[in-house]
């Protein structure tokens, strides 16, 4: 890393060292108690509209000079938010950045997990809007903390029960609740449930930051992560009849995109890096 590349007048990764240490202490506790929400004294971060600061604070606290950073928003490296956050950390750390999942040591994400399986040594940092999975039914913070402490989780299945009663199946498709390490119920942030199985026993370290509610939680590598369900309505991921209109993948999470004013639509990979790599390999001469 070249010190000249850091914008003058700012500390490495923007946050002061004391704040980073405070966040790292919260992270260590979070890793020690998988799925448990650790309160921390959050700081303000300059951020694009619509992007919370929790994930950015975690990234700022763990990023090192030898890291290679990837930033995705809904799976894409090229959205305005992803581009500006990548530029922000490049300016304030001088670290390498990448769009390629396998090159990254640190991946800051909002609402997706990359399609390419993560490896040991990689760190995935999730931006979390609402960390409390029990909030939908219990507005009191004191009570939800007590419910976690006592493993009083009967209410979690109420939500799934109501889904089946109303729609005939579990309709919850995003922020689908999971049980971490057989102990804590956790909100995986608004990723599609398609991504839930990727959290289970992942070799990567997964860190979650909620800025507004000032909570940090974590899934250490190789931790059991089970999606809640019923015996007669087992957990299932989304499937599509279509394949990706660009790369032809039948295995990735697809976004529906409108192609013209007549309402014609197609399905394409939400993970832009995955899609591009598949295209590149197909174009290569055999």
């Amino acid at each position: 890393m070249n010190p000249q590349t850091i914008r003058e007048g700012y500390n490495f990764a923007y946050l002061d060292e004391q704040t980073k240490r405070m966040i790292r202490r919260a992270l260590l506790k979070a890793v020690a108690i998988p799925g448990y929400q650790v309160p921390f004294g959050g700081r303000e971060m300059p951020m694009p509209y619509g992007w919370g600061t929790g994930g950015m604070q975690v990234t700022a606290a763990v990023i090192g000079q030898n890291d290679c950073l990837k930033v995705i928003d809904q799976g894409a490296d090229d959205t305005t938010n992803a581009v500006s956050i990548r530029a922000f950390f490049r300016d304030l750390t001088g670290v390498k950045t990448t769009e390629r999942t396998e090159e990254a040591t640190l991946i800051q994400t909002r609402h997706r997990i990359p399609e390419k399986p993560l490896q040991a040594g990689q760190v995935l940092v999730y931006q979390v809007p609402i960390p409390e999975p029990l909030r939908f039914i219990e507005p009191s913070e004191v009570e939800t903390r007590k419910m976690h402490a006592l493993e009083d989780y009967g209410v979690m299945h109420i939500k799934l029960y109501e889904d089946i009663a109303q729609f005939g199946h579990i309709a919850t498709a995003y922020a689908y609740p999971v049980l971490v390490n057989g102990r804590y119920v956790m909100d995986p942030s608004p990723i599609p449930k398609f991504d839930n199985p990727k959290m289970d026993n992942s070799p990567a370290l997964q860190l979650f930051g909620a800025g507004r509610e000032k909570r940090i939680y974590a899934i250490p590598p190789y931790t059991d992560v089970k999606s809640l369900d019923f015996e007669d309505h087992p957990f299932e991921v989304q499937t599509w009849k279509q394949c990706c209109a660009i790369c032809g993948s039948t295995e990735s999470f697809l976004d529906e995109v409108i192609m013209d004013d007549q309402g014609a639509h197609e399905f394409i990979c939400s993970d832009t890096d995955y899609c591009r790599e598949r295209m590149a390999s197909q174009e290569m001469p055999v």
């Binding site: 039914i137 006592l150 009083d152 299945h157 109420i158 089946i164 009663a165 109303q166 369900d229 019923f230």
Partner: protein, 258 residues
């Protein structure tokens, strides 16, 4: 009646101020027995009920409960986790206002199924069957299983609250003015239902009420409270037909004249 009491209360005291709360209350409750706690508002009967049901730690005194596994436990020596487990498996708590005892934002079926889900039942079809069976037991239309309690009448909400409590086949149920606020005709039908369920399920019940007619219909034994203290106890008919304490006499006569 079994020889072993299911609940033993000794010298229970919880005072907010002098005469406010409950003081030096002792009694035994046997399996299948219905005990009425009567008195005016402010007599300390609700404080007592909260202490008995592990929702309010007393200042002094002990409560021993005989569990399903025949273990005699000191209620306030148990962990909060253990207390909650008792509350949702071996006990029921029927509140005066259904909104305090129901989840108003979720369907009737989910309300009945919650305790089962909390104790590990994970089969949707079975939960549904159980909910329907309980709805018909408390005389609710099973076609309303997916409706929220907000769309139910007061009497129906109270039936739903009862079903939600009884679904885990508790042994001990605490009731706080369960028919309060209902029309007289609705009240009478609900009382009939309660009496029938209590007998069928051999429930031990502690029922708090200011309504002596409710007490007479449901309770075998009465505790009369005033200013936080027990002023008279005895078999219901005995207490109501031949009250000994001046305050009980006043209570009884005010019912007769009203």
């Amino acid at each position: 009646m079994n020889a072993e009491p299911i609940l033993q209360v000794e010298n229970l005291t919880k005072l907010y101020a002098a005469g406010k709360g409950c003081e030096a209350v002792s009694f035994d409750l046997y399996p299948g027995e219905v005990l009425g706690i009567v008195g005016e508002s402010g007599s300390g009967k609700s404080t007592l009920l909260n202490c008995l049901s592990a929702r309010l730690a007393p200042d002094e005194g002990d409560i021993h409960y005989l569990t399903r596994a025949a273990e005699r436990v000191n209620l306030y020596a148990l962990s909060e986790s253990r207390q909650r487990h008792l509350q949702r498996t071996e006990w029921g708590i029927v509140h005066q206002h259904p909104r305090d005892g129901l989840r108003m934002g979720v369907s009737a079926g989910a309300n009945i199924g919650e305790r089962l889900m909390a104790t590990g039942q994970r089969h949707y079809g079975n939960l549904r069957d159980t909910a329907q069976s309980w709805m018909s037991d408390v005389e609710l239309d099973i076609a309303r299983i997916d409706d929220k309690p907000t769309t139910y009448s007061g009497g129906m909400q109270q039936r739903l609250q009862i079903a939600r409590n009884l679904v885990t086949h508790p042994r001990l149920v605490f009731m706080d003015e369960p028919t309060g606020g209902l029309d007289v005709s609705v009240q009478a039908r609900l009382l009939d239902l309660l009496r029938q369920l209590v007998t069928e399920m051999n429930l031990a019940v502690v029922i708090v009420t200011h309504d002596l007619a409710v007490a007479r219909l449901l309770a075998q034994r009465l505790i009369v409270m005033r200013h936080g203290r027990v002023v008279e106890t005895g078999l219901t008919d005995q207490v109501l037909d031949d009250p000994q304490h001046a305050y009980t006499q006043l209570l009884v006569s005010s019912v007769l004249t009203s």
